[in-house]
Symmetry: C2
DNA sequence: GTGGCACCTGGAGCGTGCTCCAGGTCAAGC
DNA sequence: GCTTGACCTGGAGCACGCTCCAGGTGCCAC
């Protein structure tokens, strides 16, 4: 079982040192092991947990909900159903997020096409025309 | 050409009254027309522009960049190439965002499957096993 | 003429999620 | 023995994007 210095943990997980400390402070990480002089030593488990945290963060889960998940995890195996429920809800949220992005992206692409068309026709035709409309 | 009261504009665009005023203040909207007593009357063009703004916001464009886009738009037709470039860059950003979401979503779904498996096997087997690993 | 309502302004405040800072400890290298 | 560098703590500060507030105007209905 490897032990990671804070610097290595930051490197490994992509979180900053400050963020790692912050996450421990708010209880998103349980207290990290310390060496003889009080410096943190992250375990493989910590790094794995941080990987999960990164997934949830990067998919837009608010910290409050990750805290809830962390609590459930700390409470032990009898909360597994709750954790599944939480993750499934989040999975659906991510799905909706993606669908919404795709839809808005379509509108943006239409706008790009509109601009291209404007460039393709002679100046006179688009001079004063209400080009700000469209989209949504 | 319809004129929308602030309330109607809010209704129509999904932005709050405060947000509409805020957007005007910071120059994301050009100054909105006023009626005789100084109340705003949004035009169809304003509503269309707000639709565009909503697209960009909802796909994660920061306000500073929307301001840049608004400026280009105000500067007239000769900035259309720049606007295309800006929107194309954003389109790619959205694409990357979606790809990243899909990838993280995969990890979350694997975690869900993992939990399901844990539920499916007899208690003894998962009692003290490092279940916090995986993900990323 | 009194309420109630929709709106106005400038400016303060807020929630989220970090990020930075001052002042300190230890270990290693020169 | 001194510097450098990685780390420590508690607490303040910050960027972003709104959101709220106090105090006021004008219009309409009763």
């Amino acid at each position: 079982m490897t032990a990671y210095t804070p610097g290595q943990a930051a490197e490994e997980t992509g979180f900053s040192l400050d963020t790692l400390r912050y996450y421990e402070r708010i209880g998103l990480l349980e207290p990290i092991e310390r060496n003889a002089v009080g410096q943190r030593r992250f375990s493989d488990d910590d790094i794995g947990w941080l990987g999960m945290i990164r997934c949830l963060r990067d998919t837009g889960m608010p910290i409050a909900e990750m805290l809830r998940f962390a609590e459930l995890t700390r409470e032990g195996a009898h909360t597994i159903r709750d954790r599944i429920a939480l993750l499934e809800a989040h999975d659906r949220a991510v799905e909706n997020q993606i669908a919404a992005l795709r839809q808005k992206q379509g509108a943006i692409q239409r706008k790009i096409r509109y601009y291209r068309d404007v460039l393709a026709i002679p100046d006179a035709l688009y001079a004063c025309e209400g080009e700000r409309a469209s989209a949504s």
